[in-house]
Amino acid sequence: MTFINYASREINCKIVYYGPGLCGKTTNLQYIFDSTAPQSKGKLISLATETDRTLFFDFMPLELGTVRGFKTRFHLYTVPGQVFYDASRKLILKGVDGVVFVADSQEERMDANIESLYNLEENLQSQGYDLMKIPYVLQLNKRDLTNIIRVEDLAAELRRKGEPVVEAVASTGTGVFDTLKAVAKQVLTELRKS
């Protein structure tokens, strides 16, 4: 949910990275964190297990710059991808302004992608949102691996509403900022409409 503070001239928006376990949601955030100037970011908070699996969420605030005298800040969150953390995923979607679905391009993860996307639609609905109306980007991650599904086939299966599709290799940063830009642009365009 967007928060506009006219006193401190700040706008805060919330973006959530969603997707199946091990698809690269945290890697996206880690890359953004590592590549951003210190003055533009806060801490990267990771609530993870001892084996670095996301337990609750990752969070980082990112300041993009000033628009019409207002500081524009995005709060980036990831959800835990593992199926049994569904209650946590629902909570993190509260107040969301934009969603990135990170799909794992590997053949053997196709079912997990579909299940997670279905879960996203359901959980958005339970919070009163509609995937068809919310700013949304589909990222096809792990494009550097060998056992991957063709982009056209992935898009045919996972694309919901003509949303931007970004090919990515989050571990090296390919497509990471393109994804962020695509979703942030939609969020700001929504703000312009309202």
Binding site: F3, I4, A7, K94, G95
Partner: protein
């Protein structure tokens, strides 16, 4: 339904800060925060220093959301207050509608005092925030109303 965006006018912001300032003095607290349940910091006051208030706001909201989930599992609506006591610093969180009032305090204060003072101002904050949420903001010009695609692109250049 999702909550509507919060538009905070300058005057309202200063009113909130004044209430927080009084709470801080009355409860002998180090820092007092007002946070939205979604994790957005609305206002903070006190010995903030190097404290990462943005992260604290997000984690406080996550904390309340998680314990709220537990509450519902055992048939409660939510847990209206949460306290975490450390060796030197402690945190008390009160849930006030869609707001979280977060008080950070040390041994200059006590949990009982913080609880009492937080409760005393919660109604006032709740009323103020209802007014903010229901305000007619038709006269406020959105900073994004005249934004162009070039403006958006320039954020990423």
């Amino acid at each position: 339904m999702p909550d509507t965006p919060i538009l905070l006018r300058e005057q309202q912001y200063h009113q909130i800060k004044a209430v927080l300032a009084r709470l801080r003095i009355d409860s002998c607290a180090k820092v007092v925060f007002l946070v939205d349940k979604d994790g957005q910091e609305i206002a903070s006051l006190g010995e903030v220093g190097n404290l990462d208030t943005t992260s604290l706001a997000s984690l406080a909201a996550g904390n309340v959301a998680a314990t709220g989930g537990m509450a519902q599992l055992i048939g409660e609506k939510e847990f209206p207050t949460l306290s975490h006591e450390g060796e030197r610093e402690s945190i008390h969180i009160s849930v006030i509608g869609r707001l979280l009032l977060v008080v950070v305090f040390d041994d200059r204060s006590s949990l009982g005092l913080v609880k009492l003072r937080s409760k005393q101002i919660s109604q006032q904050l709740s009323k103020m925030f209802d007014e903010i949420a229901n305000a007619d903001n038709g006269d406020l010009e959105s900073p994004f109303a005249g934004i162009t695609d070039e403006d958006i692109d320039s954020l990423f250049s």
